[in-house]
């Protein structure tokens, strides 16, 4: 039912057309064109200065320009077929200004002196038109002037230099492994992103950054035609802020879980995981349907990441708290009075949650954010108490702070930047404690792995989460697989029921590659690290139905 379909992509395979439209932004180009160098920084500086000078000459009190070249490569396969290989390039400039105390924004792919001048004039005109109904003139927190600097994701293998055939072969090998192990269907895909972005502002910063991200994933289906049933099992990979080296499948980055399950840290073995997925999808067809009731939940990092994202990441975004997102994503239960009280128990006292834009290998890691603020790490929840939010230059003064947290982001040059979630992660437990120790300590529980259905209200109180794999724990042992599991809770109750967190040896990152926010909606990528954690007495419902 997508009506806004001016751009009709004839060449897209089934895999691609199911994706968010923003994925397909940019012009399709041949693979080798990905390796062509973009505009050099001397020229970018000149072009950016055209925007800054034009804005100032028209009376803007602040301006920034982002010249972006966004290179993406996506590979889609099913069973033994390549459905599509898509390479896209998007290049242009976005100009943001403050005039009469009001924001204005305009973007263009005409990166010439004339094109930039016109776009800047448009941005200033919008700011001036809107200033007539402006009641809260924009105030910016001070920022350091960085001069000319650069930053690059520390990668070992640039995806652009790896031949397409190697990527296709790897996905088809994973598909073959799934089919050999009993899968009826398997769709696999590989998303690779390179953001080459240049930022300049009237504060005196010229910042050149080269950002890389990767996400391999698949969905395996097992069908029982006689019973009229089907079950799916998604990949246990995580999207990462890494190069193609993530696909190496290094033994040193694997952890052994119960029931023969392999868990992956900073290196992923897609063929092994696909084989395991097929066996588990078949097993799910005859798994026991869960008895609803209260259970102790043992949540694996690749599952817990999404729970952190929804129940801590979003509610601590200051723009939500202040009402800027009220019409779409919503507001937040984590209101200013709770934060000001300095004793709002968001979670139990072992819960320590940090925001971090610097963590190596994470999706959110950059040197500087999209308004030229150097990135950092800060506390959101310390010993269970809410201590801070996520805020950017035009909002941080509203909570009495005078330094932006450095988490401003735009999905491309053509979209305006705004507050986006940094990596938000649960710190591991300080005492030696493994996953095996945790399972031993549970009488009646469920061990949940992987991403599943997730839904939460607009103030982030009530949520319901599913998962990929569910195992019943009885008297300290896993006794079998479960199906039809979802848990419902209230955010504050849930985090206060957190009774144990495994140590740092169990710490891994989960990621969200396409987190949506804003109007018009923009995506961003963010990681959430944690060790396996236990939550006592959580309400589990049975989702089985007959139609």
């Amino acid at each position: 039912m997508k009506r806004r379909s001016f751009v009709q992509y004839a060449g897209m395979g089934a895999g691609a057309t199911m994706l968010m439209p923003s994925l397909l932004m940019g012009n399709e180009i041949p693979t080798e064109a990905l390796l062509e160098p973009g505009m050099d920084t001397v020229l970018k500086k000149q072009m950016a200065d055209v925007a800054l000078n034009t804005a100032k000459s028209m009376g803007a009190t602040y301006a920034d320009a982002r010249i972006g070249r966004y290179l993406n490569q996506y590979v889609f396969t099913r069973e033994d077929k390549v459905q599509n290989v898509v390479n896209t390039e998007s290049f242009g400039i976005g100009i943001r200004v403050i005039a009469n105390g009001t924001w204005g924004f305009s973007s263009t792919n005409d990166v010439t002196e004339d094109g930039i001048k016109k776009a800047t004039q448009h941005a200033v005109a919008i700011a001036k038109a809107n200033s007539k109904i402006q009641k809260e003139p924009v105030q910016l927190a001070p920022v350091e002037s960085h001069g000319e600097v650069s930053w690059k994701t520390p990668i070992q293998k640039d995806f652009k230099e790896v031949p397409i055939s190697e990527k296709v072969d790897l996905l088809l090998s994973a598909n073959a492994a799934a089919v050999e192990n009993g899968a009826n269907f398997v769709n696999s895909s590989l998303f690779m992103v390179n953001e080459q972005k240049y930022f300049a502002s009237t504060e005196g910063s010229y910042i050149d950054q080269d950002v890389h991200r990767i996400w391999p994933t698949f969905n395996v289906t097992a069908v029982d035609r006689a019973a009229g049933k089907f079950k799916t099992r998604q990949a246990l990979s995580a999207p990462m802020g890494m190069g193609y080296e993530y696909m190496d499948g290094l033994e040193s980055e694997k952890l052994q879980g119960p029931e023969g399950i392999k868990l992956y840290n900073k290196s992923y073995d897609i063929v092994e995981d696909a084989a395991m997925a097929a066996k588990q999808a078949k097993q799910k067809l005859s798994a026991k349907s869960v008895e609803p009731g209260k259970y102790d939940l043992v949540l694996e990092p690749n599952h817990l990441g999404l729970t952190i994202h929804e129940s801590v990441g979003h509610p601590t975004e200051l723009d939500r708290v202040l009402g800027y997102e009220a019409n779409y994503a919503g507001t937040s239960f984590a209101t200013l009075d709770k934060w000001e009280s300095k004793n709002f128990n968001y979670g139990s006292d072992i819960v320590n949650i940090v925001a971090d834009k610097t963590q190596v290998g994470s999706l959110g890691a950059v040197g500087y954010d999209d308004e030229g603020v150097k990135t950092k790490k800060w506390d959101l929840i310390r010993n269970g108490v809410l201590v801070n939010y996520q805020a950017i230059r035009d909002q941080v003064q509203m909570i009495g702070q005078n330094e932006s947290h450095g988490c401003c982001y735009a999905q491309s040059w053509e979209d305006v930047q705004f507050q986006r979630m940094p990596n938000v992660s649960l710190e591991p437990g300080t005492e030696k404690y493994s996953l095996q120790d945790m399972i031993k300590d549970v009488e009646k529980g469920i061990y949940i792995l992987g991403r599943g259905s997730y839904s939460i209200d607009q103030q982030r109180y009530n949520f319901q989460f599913g998962g990929t794999l569910f195992y019943e724990i009885k008297d300290g042992e896993i006794v079998g697989m479960l199906e039809d599991v979802a848990y419902q809770s209230n955010t504050q109750e849930f985090w206060n029921s957190c009774s144990k967190i495994c140590d740092k040896d169990d710490y891994r990152m989960f990621g969200s590659f396409f987190d949506g926010k804003g109007q018009p909606s923009q995506v961003s990528a963010v990681s959430h690290g944690s060790s396996t954690a236990r939550f006592n007495g959580i309400n589990v419902i049975n989702t089985g139905r007959t139609i």
Partner: protein
Amino acid sequence: MAIYTEEEAKKILEKALSFSKADACEINLSGSNSGNIRYARNTVSTAGYRSSQSLVVQSSFGKKVGTATIDEFDDASLEKVVRRAEELAQLSPENPEFMPPLGPQQYDEAITFSEATANVTPEFRTEVASKSIVPASEKDVTAAGFLDDSAGFSAMINSNGLFAYNKSTDVDFTVTMRTNDGTGSGWVTRDFNDISKFDPAEAANTAIDKAVLSREARAIEPGKYTVILEPAASIGLLGRMFGSLNARSADEGRSFMSAKDGGNKLGQKIVDERVNIWSDPLHPDVPTSTWNGAGQPLKKTSWIENGVVKNLAYDRYWAQEKGVDPVPFPSNAIMAGGDESLEDMIKGTRKGILVTRFWYIRSVDPQTLLYTGLTRDGTFYIENGQIKFPVKNFRFNESPIIMLNNLESLGKQVRVNGNLIPYMKVRDFTFTSLSDAV
């Protein structure tokens, strides 16, 4: 950027096609201008404007396919993009499911373009925001809203003689009104092709009234309730059902449309016999393009008739595999309504819940099309034919198939998200928990 006329678009496409040396070539050309304004806290927050155009070439040699795109349309650029698509095709693995381009087609004339929408100015958008902010301020309410308008065109040509053209406009508006004591919230959504049909003051006042009426909601026990769903609520579940009317996944055994022991549910009765759903690109209230991106004509098509599945979508490859005619995916959905007014629906309800909208809807089980989500921005308890008081929001776990089997009555149709959906009353709707969210 100009919105190209049919002649201008054809000239560019014919020029590009003249450079093709591939076995087959298909070229899509599109462009749009769009502007938006966003406001919150009773003041404007951001606004923007964007303009884009794009030409996509798909070249094929046998079953090897390549695509390339460009946004400049001079002769050299057009030749370059065609050569790039051909190079890519030569390097690509064979796609066994590739279908050659269609031959010439007959299309109906679409009714999707409005000059008024194409001529919207930044000042007009500011005025719309103002018509929310001013009345909200007067009633101790805070407005947050978004207006997005766009005008664009699409055209395509291929080496088998097909040519298609359409231009269209769209307006989407939503506003959330929250009472300043934080206990009430109301919302409306409006969408049009023609902005002259849009009454921003009416929309704002409807949301303000809902916000005020929903203050200090009471908690009632979750469970199974009769619900009256406004069209903006039911579309969340129905839209997902429409999007799943795919023959291939049904035939493969991995859809709610899969029949036991193989095959699909075509011809089976799956919901109440009063349910009739069709698509129609020429419906004056919800017009769409009369062709899709593959150049297939879009015609009025019945999907569910008297509760029976009449059609599933077959792409050209799957239709060929199954020996049937292709059935393109619908571009809109129209569900037949009934005579009952909302007031009468409420009057005839002994105990029930009136729902403004659903929020954060996610799939729980694709096998049964079970979804979870929450009510939001105006949920009211009905007893003995009257709205008694606002209630706290509920989480639901429900399938649109079960919902349409439990149909009680149908009311007036309303345009929502480009579809025409009636008010409906449904019994035994499953609410599983309460939320404190306002």
